[in-house]
């Protein structure tokens, strides 16, 4: 319900939205549509979002696949502690690390860039991605690997040629979930992207709140909807794997 109503707001003229008497039968208008593309560099925000998100997911995969492989396949001293450490970073409140990260990026000259967002999104999601992939790797029967080993394949070759293709659904699930979290991230984006240089869709929303115009709700609704549609489509495609991904593999389903 709220979604339909919200969607209707995206296509209404501004005057209809903030009135003391709400208007329930809207008149259709593309005001907001024109506004977000013409008065605001929405295309640039969109590009920022896409770059930061895809970059962060790639970083995550490059780091997480070997890590998950190591955690799921080898037994060695400290393995459980390492795994637990990776998991525990998921629990850190963004607000705790926000201040130091802010200074760190400022000193590195990364403040207000897409690169900073990419790095931070990757860090936020790394624990998630590692654990999801790990859970899929644990399901691979050992015989499969043993067979490859007798054929003389090295460990990394097994990883590359057997395990990665076998857990592709897991990798995709992890990527999609990382993507959603990255799109949704708000606090860091707010702090790091302090000018339109690095604004993403989620902070672009906060953009429409200031200034003499007050809250520009139809634009907010429309931007929210634009960000929602691709996510929704992708999630419907992977919905079989969703519950497992959301619980980092703790629940099979």
């Amino acid at each position: 319900m709220p979604v339909l109503w919200f969607l209707s707001i995206g296509f209404r003229p501004r005057t209809e939205i903030i009135t003391t008497q709400p208007i329930y039968w809207p008149t259709f208008s593309l005001d907001a549509w024109h506004m977000i593309w013409e008065d605001w560099p929405m295309a640039k925000y969109l590009r920022n979002s896409v770059l930061a998100i895809i970059g962060s997911v790639l970083i995550d995969l490059v780091l997480a696949i070997p890590a998950a492989y190591s955690l799921s396949r080898y037994t060695y001293r400290g393995r459980d502690d390492i795994g637990f450490y990776i998991l525990s970073t998921r629990m850190m409140a963004p607000a705790i690390v926000a201040i130091p990260i802010f200074f760190l990026f400022r000193n590195m000259g990364l403040l207000d860039t897409v690169w900073a967002l990419m790095l931070i999104y990757a860090a936020i999601n790394l624990s998630f991605v590692t654990w999801i992939i790990r859970s899929y790797m644990m399901d691979i029967p050992k015989e499969l690997e043993d067979a490859a080993k007798t054929d003389g394949a090295g460990d990394l070759r097994i990883l590359w040629e057997i395990i990665i293709p076998a857990i592709l659904p897991g990798i995709i699930t992890a990527s999609v979930i990382a993507m959603i979290f990255a799109i949704n991230e708000f606090l860091f984006t707010l702090l790091i992207a302090s000018t339109p240089n690095a604004y993403t869709m989620s902070v672009a929303l906060a953009n429409f709140t200031g200034g003499s115009d007050g809250l520009i709700y139809n634009a907010i609704a429309l931007v929210a909807f634009l960000a929602f549609v691709p996510v929704f489509i992708v999630v419907v495609l992977i919905q079989k794997h969703l519950s497992r991904g959301l619980t980092m593999g703790a629940v099979k389903g």
Partner: protein, 314 residues
């Protein structure tokens, strides 16, 4: 950084694996012991950079007064101030109150719907519909609720038309009204998360046991209470922990909808840190609050997550 290093090893190792095998047998043996560490190292280093560094930084900074000029060492003054700051305690309390009510509601609603729907042939469709709130950007959801309750007062208007109330509701001046909006927004957006997980768990349960119980004349709540619920225990624990973490770090809704008001009645810990740090630029003080949070997080993590994730690993 770690990234390039790792992709490098990946590419090299695969290609020349065969010729080196005999010649470097001894070296490869030593490498073998290190190999698993080598594989996790990049990820761990990356996370250490982004968690340990800020952690230490926050601890150091919490012993200084950091305003615009140079850092002034103040010893434990920030902590002493924190201890006497009713706003800080208030923020802890608010986080707890809003979080626990919201979490309880979400869990009960999700359980009820999941138990009702999991054998429904339409469950796939339900799942997709339920997903919708979850997939909206949280900031957008927050704006929806702000508009609905505060700015356009749709809720109040509908209530008046239905004759439920006369006059306007004082959302902006009542602490509990504001808290209710935050709770409602959170429940609306995240009940689907629990629903999806619970449905998956219920579908995974043994159908025959359930069928047998039904034939024996067990009622639905007996089945639920004696069969489904015990089976779901680890799943519920994991789901609640994940959700609980997110709720205790609640920021976006507070930032958009209430700004912590009225009278700091909805200010969560995250918002408290944000406000002292980035609005009053009292970074040292904000850091001391962060450190307290960090310690709480570590304690809770040790206690709960280790157990939940180990038991659910099977």
């Amino acid at each position: 950084m770690g990234t390039s290093n790792l992709s490098g090893t990946g590419a090299d190792q695969t290609a020349p694996a065969r010729p080196t095998q005999k010649t470097f047998k001894r070296r490869s043996k030593r490498l073998k012991a290190w190999f698993p560490y080598l594989l996790v190292a990049p990820a761990v280093i990356y996370l250490l950079l982004i968690t340990l560094y800020p952690g230490i930084y926050a601890i150091v900074q919490s012993f200084y007064a950091v305003k615009f000029g140079p850092w002034q060492p103040v010893g434990f003054a920030n902590y002493a101030r924190l201890f006497n700051d009713y706003q800080f305690w208030g923020a802890l309390w608010n986080t707890f109150v809003i979080g626990s009510i919201s979490l309880t509601l979400q869990c009960l609603i999700a359980l009820a719907i999941a138990f009702y729907a999991y054998r429904d042939p339409w469950v796939k469709g339900w799942r997709i519909i339920f997903l919708i709130p979850m997939l909206f950007m949280p900031s957008a959801v927050a704006f929806i609720y702000k508009l609905f309750f505060l700015d356009a007062r749709v809720f109040a208007d509908i209530s008046i038309r239905l004759g439920l109330i006369d006059g306007n509701i004082a959302f902006q001046s009542s602490i509990w009204m504001s808290r209710s909006i935050l709770i409602l927004a959170d429940v609306w957006q995240w009940t689907p998360f629990l629903f999806i997980i619970f449905v998956a768990a219920l579908q995974g349960q043994d159908e025959e046991v359930e069928e047998a119980a039904r034939l024996d004349g067990a009622s639905w709540y007996q089945i639920f209470w004696n069969i489904s619920l015990p089976m779901m225990k680890p799943v519920i624990a994991v789901a609640l922990i994940l959700r609980g973490i997110d709720i205790t770090t609640m920021f976006t809704n507070v930032f958009v909808i209430t700004k912590g008001g009225p009278a700091f009645g909805t200010e969560t810990i995250s918002y408290f840190i944000y406000r002292t740090g980035f609005k009053f630029f009292d970074f040292g003080y904000a850091s001391s609050a962060s450190v307290i949070m960090l310690i709480l997080t570590i304690i809770i993590a040790q206690f709960v997550v280790k157990r939940a994730f180990v038991s659910a690993k099977v």
